[in-house]
């Protein structure tokens, strides 16, 4: 049985008239078990492989090998299906045209699915909305499946009327999760990131076919380790308070503020998706009406809820004080993640400006990113930034854009922008 715990890191002291309370809440899950094995329902896995005409022979061969390696990771008994995606989605396995569109994994179905993958041929265009919609239909065709996860591989830009993909993403949001990978450099990071963020998954680039197999294995292994099918971050704030934002800040930065589902007038749920044995950090910012010096009050109850069951709770407090030594201190965790969130934004905005030809903005933003990555100890971001810019002064954030940049390096910087690093923690309360 999975066990959750919550820890809060904050400076609860506010100056006279202070209203804004910031806290990092770490939620840790232990004993998650294996997907679909908790007795609450079965897990379903769908592998979507881009089979459009743009897939070169090497990429296609690697994608086949990767998908087959992923099959090997799917635990027996798990419902699964394989989709071949082009300008329309085709159910490659199981080959049925009605009834349940997923089958349970065993030696025979694994063998049959593997054979179906072998028969993939690249042709046609890329209409990702149809892929997502078919995945949704397949999941809904097996009512026993309650934990739904998709592994999606594409190599090209979506070729659909604007809005179509967004509509499909909206239909899938809250219904299944998706980890997305882009092969090569002809796909759009922003587009695929939109899918992954909405569907509570990861996005990354697979620059060379040789890395395909390992990435697929890892994604599927992680998916199978998520023994807790679904959970919500539940945030209570007092009457008269305002939630400024709720953000996942580790392992990646994901703004959840707009994804609130009201539970009651004072409480809202934010989606977290499935959990394995892991630890995630959330930055919660709340504005409360100021109280008199010496007063203490609760600014937020931050809970993890499995359905209606609250399994962990952290208390975010506010205490008004006239001791400036207490009130001016910024909690180390809050400062760190505030910097990391700004880092992600600076990288994304810098790269967007660079793509649009606005070199001045790109230089400023990426310079700020270099500065933040160094200050917050994000070595991965630092090394990826250095492939895109020449750094004159790290501390001051003065950089020059490199004249020639590998497209893959730029995309890798973009996909990695939301990944954060952690610092050592000492509970404040």
């Amino acid at each position: 049985m999975a066990e959750f715990s919550a820890a809060v890191y904050q400076n609860e002291f506010l100056p006279d008239g202070g209203t804004d309370v910031n806290a990092i809440v770490t939620i840790t899950c232990k004993g998650a078990g294996t997907a679909g094995q908790s007795g609450a329902g079965s897990a379903g896995e769908i592998i979507i492989v881009d089979t459009s005409g743009s897939m070169g022979p090497a990429t296609m061969a690697a994608a086949k090998e990767g998908a087959q390696a992923a099959l090997a990771e799917i635990v027996d008994g798990t419902y699964f299906a394989i989709i071949a995606g082009a300008d329309r989605a085709m159910l490659a396995y199981p080959q049925v045209s009605s009834g349940p569109g997923m089958v349970q994994m065993d030696a025979r179905t694994r063998q049959e699915a593997s054979a179906a993958i072998d028969r993939f041929v690249g042709s046609g265009g890329t209409a990702i909305s149809t892929w997502l919609d078919l995945a949704g239909q397949l999941f809904s065709s097996v009512s026993a499946v309650t934990q739904r996860h998709v592994l999606l591989l594409t190599d090209g830009e979506n070729r659909e009327r604007p809005g179509r993909l967004d509509d499909a993403i909206n239909r899938a949001t809250g219904y299944f999760q998706a980890d997305c990978r882009g092969a090569g450099t002809d796909w759009q990071v922003a587009e695929i990131r939109r899918i992954a963020q909405a569907l509570l998954g990861t996005v990354d680039i697979i620059p060379s076919p040789a890395e395909m197999k390992a990435q697929f294995q890892e994604i599927m292994r992680n998916a199978m380790a998520r023994g807790v099918a679904d959970a919500s971050l539940r945030v209570w704030t007092p009457q008269g308070a305002e939630v400024l934002f709720v953000r996942q800040v580790s392992p990646t930065v994901e703004d959840l503020t707009q994804r609130r589902t009201p539970v009651n007038p004072l409480t809202g749920d934010y989606p977290t998706g499935a959990w394995s044995d892991e630890s995630r950090d959330y930055h919660v910012a709340v504005r409360v009406p100021a109280k008199a010096i010496g007063q203490e009050q609760l600014a937020a109850r931050v809970q993890l809820a499995l359905g209606s069951d609250v399994v962990a709770q952290g208390l975010v407090k506010a205490t008004w004080s006239n001791n400036s030594e207490l009130t001016t201190r910024i909690d180390q965790q809050v400062a760190h993640y505030t910097g990391q969130a700004e880092l992600a934004q600076a990288i994304q905005e810098g790269l967007a400006a660079k793509a649009a030809g606005d070199e001045a903005t790109a230089t400023t933003k990426l310079g700020r990113a270099v500065q933040l990555a160094a200050a917050t100890g994000n070595d991965e971001a630092t090394s990826k930034l250095r492939k895109v810019v020449d750094v004159d002064n790290e501390e001051a954030g003065t950089v020059r854009l490199k004249r020639t940049v590998e497209k893959a390096d730029e995309m890798a910087l973009d996909t990695a922008s939301t990944k954060t690093t952690r610092i050592r923690k000492e509970p404040t309360s």
């Binding site: 209570w236 704030t237 007092p238 009457q239 008269g240 308070a241 004072l266 409360v288 007063q295 203490e296 009050q297 609760l298 600014a299 109850r301 709770q313 208390l315």
Partner: protein, 384 residues
């Protein structure tokens, strides 16, 4: 059993956690003692003289108050002790608690605005029979944890509760002579102080270089008779409605010694050593014998047991009586709250405890109905 809030171990029957102050309320049932089922000896480890059932004369514990609503907005207070509506922190039950074992007996034990922690403690008992009537009984125990020692808030409460257990049964009548009765009563009150002392030592860290200590004041009303016992500088007063108010207990303090030597009260009680006590309970206590006295009251009024957090602002019996008159109430809880509010209003520099029993000799017996079991005055049954 453990605290649902902080997981600290709880004493049997605890109404709130002595570690974090979380109120346990009805969630924690008082455990029923189970007879030891030992193999050989049918009596097990139980003392041979232990009663097999609660004697009819034993006073019951005060009813557990429910969790009070939020003081700020009236909303429900959650198990985490914050209001579920407005988030205001509820005062911990240890910081402010009230007991009202009977309509005529109540007390308030309050942290006071000037203190961070409530080291005062209080434990009350009372029967249903109104004060002053034959057979009426009330026990008021007030203890003040010494604030420069460690965990004295835990110690004082444990001590007060332990003393309450000793005083649950009526005081003994002795062999029929006043002297023998005095000796028997003195023995029981000494036992109560000793029980409090044992409880304090039991919760004191054996390695502590600054062991917990506390004062001890017990005031027992039986019919018209007040019996008091004291160690340190918490006090009991008799405050009649019309007659001359008196301080019953005598402080064990430097100030008291100076007053005995002729120094004026206001000089002694405001001097640098005013609050230095010469006797206390705790591991480093040298003398745990209380000073004991008694008084037969002749008129209606209030029996008050209090800590120095109250009498600091009204030491003279007349000054306290004036505050009681100003409160103008017959309800002991309202009066205790008024006295605590008075001390807080005057500065609230120390924890405040006020425990009161109303003695009403003017009540028409017909209005009360008749009680066939009412013992005759002076002839109370004893458990000896």
């Amino acid at each position: 059993m453990n605290c649902p809030s902080c997981q600290a171990a709880l004493a049997p029957g605890a109404r709130f956690c002595e570690n974090c102050g979380a109120q346990l309320g009805a969630a924690v049932a008082v455990p029923t003692p189970v007879a030891a089922a030992s193999g050989g000896d049918p009596l097990g480890d139980a003392p041979i003289s232990a009663p097999t059932r609660k004697p009819a004369a034993a006073l019951p514990d005060p009813p557990a108050p429910g969790r009070r609503p939020c003081a700020e907005c009236g909303g429900e207070v959650g198990p985490d002790l914050y209001c579920v509506e407005c988030g205001t922190k509820a005062p911990s039950e240890r910081d402010h608690f009230q007991e009202q074992p009977a309509p005529w007996v109540a007390g308030v034990c309050d942290k006071a605005i000037g203190k961070a922690r409530n080291e005062d403690a209080m434990a009350l008992l009372a029967g249903a029979q109104p004060g002053g009537r034959p057979g009426s009984r009330a026990v008021l125990i007030v203890m003040d944890g010494v604030s420069n020692s460690i965990d004295s808030d835990v110690a004082s409460l444990a001590g007060a509760r332990a003393a309450r257990e000793v005083l649950r049964m009526p005081l003994p009548a002795g062999m029929g002579t006043p002297d023998s009765r005095d000796a028997a009563v003195r023995k029981v009150l000494g036992d109560a102080a000793a029980a409090a002392n044992t409880a304090i030592v039991a919760v004191t860290d054996p390695d502590s270089t600054n062991p917990a200590s506390a004062t001890f004041t017990a005031a027992v009303l039986e019919g018209r008779r007040i019996t008091w016992a004291n160690i340190g500088d918490s006090r009991s007063y008799w405050l009649p409605d019309a007659g001359t108010p008196v301080q019953l207990s005598v402080d064990d303090s430097v100030a008291q010694a100076q007053m005995a030597a002729g120094v004026a009260r206001e000089v002694a009680e405001t001097g640098p050593q005013a609050h230095a006590i010469t006797k206390w309970l705790g591991r480093d206590s040298e003398d745990q014998t209380p000073t004991v006295g008694s008084l037969e009251v002749q008129e209606s009024g209030w029996l008050l047991a209090c800590s120095d957090g109250l009498w600091n602002y009204a030491s003279e019996p007349e000054a306290l009586a004036a505050q009681v008159r100003a409160a103008a109430t017959d309800d002991p809880l309202a009066l205790a709250l008024a006295l605590v509010a008075f001390a807080n209003g005057a500065g609230g520099h120390d924890n405040i405890t006020a425990a009161l029993a109303r003695v009403d000799l003017a009540v028409d017996p017909a209005a009360l109905g008749h009680n066939d079991h009412t013992p005759t005055p002076g002839g109370e049954p004893t458990d000896g």
